[in-house]
C-alpha cells in the first residue's frame, strides 16, 4: 500500500517524487519507458521561458512565472546546469511590433523584466538576426537547462530517500476500491483507494498522481470514463547543430507567437549546440515521434526568417517530440471530483517544462497538503555529485585520475567523455541500462559523429557492468538491440 503512486516519470513526476521523498510517505513511481524522462521531457526546446506569453488568468501564466523564479536555485540545489541566456521576441513589421509592445506590457504587469529594443540595439547583441527584423523584445530572465538532467537528478535523490521507481511498467487499468479494505491507508477523507494493474503486477495506492504525458487522458479514462478529457499529441520536429566556433545566437530567438504556440525558435543549448525548431502539427499516433521531409523543410524555412547565416551543413541530428495538448488551452491540474485522492497533472504542453517546479509547488500547496499530514523525514540523503571532466581544469582531472585511472581513458572523442564517467553513469543510483541511457546521462554519442566511433566501446562497457551479453544491450526500448543474436542467416 503506497501513500502516493505517481504514473509517469517525466519532469513533473520527478519533481513530485522528489518533493514527496522529503516526507514520511511511501511513494511509488510507475514508468512505462525504460528510463526516466523518456517522453516530452526528452524532446523539447529546453527553455525556462520568462512567462511573457501565456494568456492572462491561466495556470500556464501563473506557473510559468513562478517556475522561472524557482529554477536557478533548484538547479543549483540539484547539481543540474542552468544558464541565464535572455531571449528576444523579434518583429519584422509594424503589426508584429505592436504585438511586441503588448507582450512588453503583459510582462511588466507580471513583473517580468523586459525591454523593447530597436533594430540596431538588437543587432549589437545578436548580429545574426535576419535583415527583416525591425525590433526585439528582450526578456533577460529567460534561461536554458538540460531537461532530462534535472529529471534524473530529482528522481535519483528521490530513490535515495526510499521512493520506489518501477521502469518498463505499463499501467493497464486503474480501479477505485472501497478504502475500508485497506486499514493502513493514510488518507482520511477519501472513500477510495486505487488499485493499479500493470504488466508487472498490481499496486495499491491511497492517492494517485497521473503525470502520464500524452497518455494522461487514457489513464484517467480507465478510472473515470464519464469525466474524461482528451490529450492530443502535437508534434514538434527539430534540428541540432554541432558546436560552432562562433555561436550563431547567444540567446533564445522567438518569432511572434501565434495560435500554434511560440513558433519555430533558434535556441542555444547548455552544451554549446544550437536547436532549431519546433514545428507544430497534431498527430493521431502517440508513438509517432518520427520526422518527415516536408516538416523539416518547413522548420528550415521558418528559422531563416528570424536568424541569418545558419550553417545547415553543421546539422548533426534531427528529432521529433510530442507535446501533450489538452482541450482547454491550459494545463489540467487538479484532484478528481468523483475520485478524491486521484490527481491529474495533464495537458502539460509548453510552458510545462518552465512551469514544472511551480506545478509541483502548486500541487503540494493546493492538493497534497489537504490529503495527507506532511511530516518531514528525520534523515534526508543528498545525492552525490558526479564528476564531469570536460568542465574541469587539468589539475582537477589529474586528481580524479589518481584515484581511478579510467578517468584518463577517453571513450567519446567528440565530447571528450572518459570511461570512468561512463561507468559512473551505469553505477549511479539511477543508473543507465541502455545506450541512450548512458548518452543522456554523460553525453557520449551526443557529438558530431553521433556514436559512430564510441558506440561499439560503450556497448561492451554496458554489457560488462550489467552482466549482460552484448546482444542483450539495447539502444533504448524493448526490441532495440543493436547487435543481434545468432549466426548470420
Amino acid at each position: 500500500m503506497y501513500d502516493y503512486t505517481i504514473i509517469g516519470a517525466g519532469i513533473n513526476g520527478c519533481f513530485l517524487a522528489h518533493e514527496l521523498s522529503k516526507y514520511d510517505l511511501d511513494v511509488l513511481v510507475l514508468e512505462k519507458g525504460p528510463d526516466v524522462a523518456s517522453g516530452a521531457t526528452m524532446a523539447n526546446s529546453a527553455i525556462v521561458h520568462a512567462g511573457h506569453d501565456p494568456k492572462p488568468g491561466t495556470l500556464k501564466a501563473k506557473l510559468n512565472v513562478r517556475g522561472n523564479e524557482l529554477y536557478p536555485s533548484i538547479c543549483k540545489e540539484m547539481d543540474a546546469a542552468f544558464k541565464l541566456t535572455s531571449a528576444f521576441v523579434v518583429a519584422t513589421n509594424e503589426a508584429e511590433l505592436s504585438v511586441i509592445h503588448d507582450l512588453h506590457r503583459q510582462s511588466q504587469t507580471r513583473n517580468i523584466p523586459s525591454e523593447v529594443l530597436n533594430r540596431s540595439q538588437a543587432m549589437q547583441l545578436e548580429p545574426n538576426l535576419s535583415d527583416s527584423i525591425i525590433a526585439a523584445l528582450d526578456l533577460p530572465s529567460t534561461g536554458i537547462i538540460t531537461p532530462w538532467e534535472v529529471a534524473f537528478n530529482l528522481m535519483e535523490e528521490a530513490i535515495l530517500n526510499d521512493v520506489k521507481l518501477n521502469l518498463n511498467t505499463k499501467v493497464l487499468s486503474v480501479m477505485a476500491r472501497p478504502r475500508t479494505c485497506y486499514i493502513d491507508a493514510k488518507c482520511s477523507d477519501s472513500k477510495y483507494a486505487y488499485e493499479i494493474i500493470t504488466n508487472k503486477g498490481n499496486f495499491i495506492g491511497s492517492n494517485v498522481i497521473n503525470a502520464a504525458g500524452v497518455y494522461a487522458d487514457e489513464i484517467y479514462s480507465m478510472l473515470n470514463p464519464s469525466d474524461k478529457f482528451t490529450i492530443t499529441g502535437r508534434k514538434g520536429e527539430y534540428f541540432i547543430l554541432d558546436k560552432l566556433s562562433e555561436p550563431i545566437v547567444n540567446r533564445v530567438i522567438y518569432p511572434i507567437p501565434s495560435e500554434k504556440g511560440k513558433g519555430v525558435l533558434v535556441v542555444p543549448t547548455i552544451h554549446g549546440n544550437t536547436l532549431l525548431g519546433p514545428s507544430s502539427e497534431f498527430i493521431d499516433n502517440k508513438n509517432g515521434d518520427f520526422t518527415d521531409t516536408e516538416t523539416l523543410e518547413y522548420v528550415r524555412s521558418q528559422v531563416k526568417k528570424t536568424v541569418k547565416n545558419i550553417p545547415f551543413n553543421k546539422v548533426i541530428k534531427t528529432f521529433a517530440g510530442l507535446r501533450p495538448t489538452g482541450p482547454t488551452g491550459d494545463f489540467i491540474i487538479g484532484e478528481s471530483i468523483d475520485y478524491p485522492g486521484f490527481v491529474n497533472i495533464a495537458a502539460i504542453e509548453s510552458p510545462g517544462l518552465a512551469s514544472a517546479p511551480a506545478t509541483c509547488e502548486y500541487v503540494m500547496d493546493t492538493i497534497i497538503e489537504k490529503q495527507v499530514i506532511l511530516k518531514k523525514k528525520k534523515t534526508y540523503i543528498k545525492r552525490a555529485h558526479l564528476p564531469i571532466l570536460y568542465k574541469m581544469a587539468d589539475s582537477e582531472k589529474q586528481k580524479l585520475w589518481k584515484d581511478n585511472p579510467s578517468y584518463g581513458k577517453i571513450v567519446c572523442r567528440c565530447e571528450h567523455i572518459s570511461e570512468g564517467e561512463i561507468i559512473d553513469s551505469i553505477r549511479r543510483p539511477l543508473g543507465a541500462t541502455t545506450l541512450d541511457g548512458v548518452k543522456k546521462r554523460v553525453r557520449p554519442s551526443m557529438g558530431r559523429c553521433q556514436g559512430s566511433f564510441c558506440q561499439p566501446a560503450i556497448i561492451e562497457i554496458l554489457a560488462k557492468e550489467l552482466n549482460l551479453s552484448v546482444e542483450e544491450v539495447k539502444l533504448y526500448n524493448e526490441g532495440s538491440n543493436v547487435v543481434i543474436k545468432g549466426e548470420f542467416n
Partner: protein, 418 residues
C-alpha cells in the same frame, strides 16, 4: 613538460608514414600518439584486399598493409603511446593528452604532424526522415562490429550511399550470409571506385538504385523498413516513385569528413572544399611547424597515396625542425574553377627545386576532357583524359621552374558531361 622534436597525432597509415618519413630525414625524438590500443588506424578493420599495389607492388589486406608500416618502426627511436587521446593542441605546439597510465598531461613538439584521419557522416547530418530505431548505423561502425568484434549486426540489409565502405560492406555482409537487398545513391553515378561497384555489387547481383534516396525509416524499436524515392536532376524527390524494402538493418555510406576538431582548436585555417587544412606544397598548415597529411587533410581513395603524403609531411617536419626550410619565401595561391571539387596544395613555396605534385578531383563525371593548369593567364600544362569521375583523385607533377611566379589555377578547356 616533456619536449619532442616531433609529435605525430594519429598512428594510422598517415601517421606511421609521417613518423618514418621524419626519421629517415634526420629526426630521432619522435612520438606517435594513438587513441586506440593498436597502431594501424582504420586499416585494421579493412580486412578485404586491394591495398599496397603502389607502395609495395602487391595486393594486401588492410591489416597486412598496416603491419608492413608498423614493422618499419622496429629498430628506430620512434616512440609510441597507445590508448592515448589528444584533447587539444595550441599554436605554440603544446599537446594536451590523456591516458590511463599518466592521466592528463602536456607535451611539446618542435613540429607536429596531424594525422587524425576522417569520420563518417552520420544519419543526422543528412537529416533522413523517419523514426530513430536501432539497426541504423554507419558502414564503418558496422565494419568494426563485424570485422573487429565479430558481432552480427543484421540479416536483411539496405545501404544508403555508394561510398567505398558501403560497397565493401555490401559484399562483406553477403559473404557472412546476410541478404543485402539494395544500395541507393542520390547522385546519378556511384561515389565509390568503379572496381568496387563491380566486385562488391555486380558480382553478387545487388541492385544499385542511382538517383534514389531514403524518404522514410520505419520501426519504433528496431528498423523494420526503408522507403526510397527517385530524385530528379536537381535532387528533388519525384512523387509516386516510392519503393519500400523490409529490412532489419540500414547502413549509411554517405560521405567522409576529415576530422579536424583538433586543428580547429589549434586555430588552423581550414578549406571549405576539402574540410581539411589549407596547406602549402610542404603540407604545412597556416600555423608554422604544424603539418597535415592523409585523410585529415583530404579524403583519399587509396591508402598508398595516404602513406606517400604522410612520408612527405614527415620529411617537411624534419626540414622544419632541422632548420632546412626558408620561412621567408613568398607563397603563391592555387585555386580551381567551379568544375572541380578541390585542388591541393593550396599554396606553393617557390624556393627549392623539388617538383610540385598537384591532386585534384572533378565534381561531376566527364569524358574526353582537356584540363589546363595556368600560371596567371599562361597555360603551363595541358592534360587530356578519356574520363574523369569524382571518386578518383587525379595527380599531376610539375617542375617548380615551370610554375612561374603568378597564382596557379586549374580549369577545364574542353569537356563532355556524361
Amino acid at each position: 613538460m616533456r619536449e619532442h622534436e616531433l609529435i605525430v597525432i594519429g598512428g594510422g597509415s598517415a601517421g606511421l608514414a609521417a613518423a618514418i618519413g621524419a626519421y629517415e630525414n634526420g629526426l630521432k625524438d619522435i612520438l606517435i600518439i594513438e587513441r586506440e590500443g593498436e597502431l594501424g588506424g582504420i586499416l585494421l578493420q579493412c580486412i578485404h584486399n586491394g591495398f599496397g599495389l603502389h607502395a609495395f607492388g602487391e595486393e594486401l589486406a588492410g591489416p597486412t598493409y598496416a603491419e608492413r608500416w608498423i614493422y618499419k618502426l622496429v629498430g628506430t627511436s620512434i616512440q609510441v603511446k597507445l590508448d592515448t587521446s589528444v584533447i587539444s593542441i595550441t599554436k605554440d605546439h603544446t599537446v594536451s593528452y590523456s591516458n590511463k597510465e599518466e592521466g592528463y598531461v602536456k607535451a611539446k613538439g618542435k613540429a607536429i604532424v596531424l594525422a587524425m584521419g576522417c569520420r563518417e557522416r552520420p544519419r543526422g547530418a543528412i537529416a533522413i526522415p523517419g523514426y530513430r530505431p536501432a539497426g541504423v548505423l554507419t558502414a564503418g561502425t558496422a565494419q568494426e562490429y563485424v570485422n573487429i568484434k565479430g558481432y552480427n549486426i543484421g540479416k536483411k540489409v539496405f545501404i544508403l550511399g555508394s561510398g567505398d565502405i558501403g560497397l565493401i560492406m555490401a559484399r562483406r555482409l553477403t559473404l557472412e550470409g546476410a541478404k543485402v537487398v539494395g544500395v541507393a545513391e542520390i547522385m546519378p553515378y556511384s561515389n565509390g571506385l568503379p572496381r568496387n561497384v563491380k566486385q562488391c555489387l555486380d558480382d553478387y547481383d545487388i541492385p544499385l538504385y542511382l538517383s534514389h534516396t531514403i524518404t522514410f525509416i520505419d520501426g519504433h524499436d528496431r528498423i523494420s523498413s526503408v522507403t526510397i524515392s527517385k530524385v530528379d536532376e536537381n535532387l528533388k524527390l519525384i512523387p509516386n516513385t516510392e519503393k519500400t524494402f523490409e529490412v532489419d538493418t540500414l547502413l549509411l555510406s554517405v560521405g567522409l569528413i576529415p576530422e579536424n576538431d583538433l586543428s580547429e582548436i589549434a586555430g588552423i585555417e581550414l578549406s571549405s572544399a576539402t574540410k581539411g587544412a589549407i596547406v602549402s606544397n610542404e603540407l604545412e598548415t597556416s600555423v608554422p611547424g604544424i603539418f597535415s597529411c592523409g585523410n585529415v587533410l583530404h579524403v583519399h581513395d587509396l591508402v598508398d597515396y595516404v602513406s606517400k603524403e604522410g612520408e612527405n609531411a614527415g620529411k617537411s617536419a624534419a626540414d622544419f625542425v632541422l632548420g632546412r626550410t626558408n620561412s621567408e619565401t613568398e607563397l603563391i595561391d592555387v585555386t580551381c574553377s567551379n568544375d572541380f571539387g578541390y585542388i591541393l596544395p593550396s599554396k606553393i613555396k617557390l624556393s627549392g627545386d623539388s617538383p610540385v605534385e598537384f591532386m585534384y578531383r572533378i565534381k561531376k563525371p566527364m569524358r574526353d576532357v582537356t584540363i589546363g593548369i595556368y600560371s596567371g593567364d599562361t597555360l603551363i600544362r595541358k592534360i587530356t583524359k578519356k574520363t574523369l569521375i569524382p571518386s578518383i583523385m587525379e595527380k599531376v607533377s610539375i617542375q617548380k621552374s615551370k610554375l612561374g611566379s603568378n597564382d596557379i589555377i586549374i580549369k577545364l578547356i574542353k569537356e563532355e558531361i556524361i
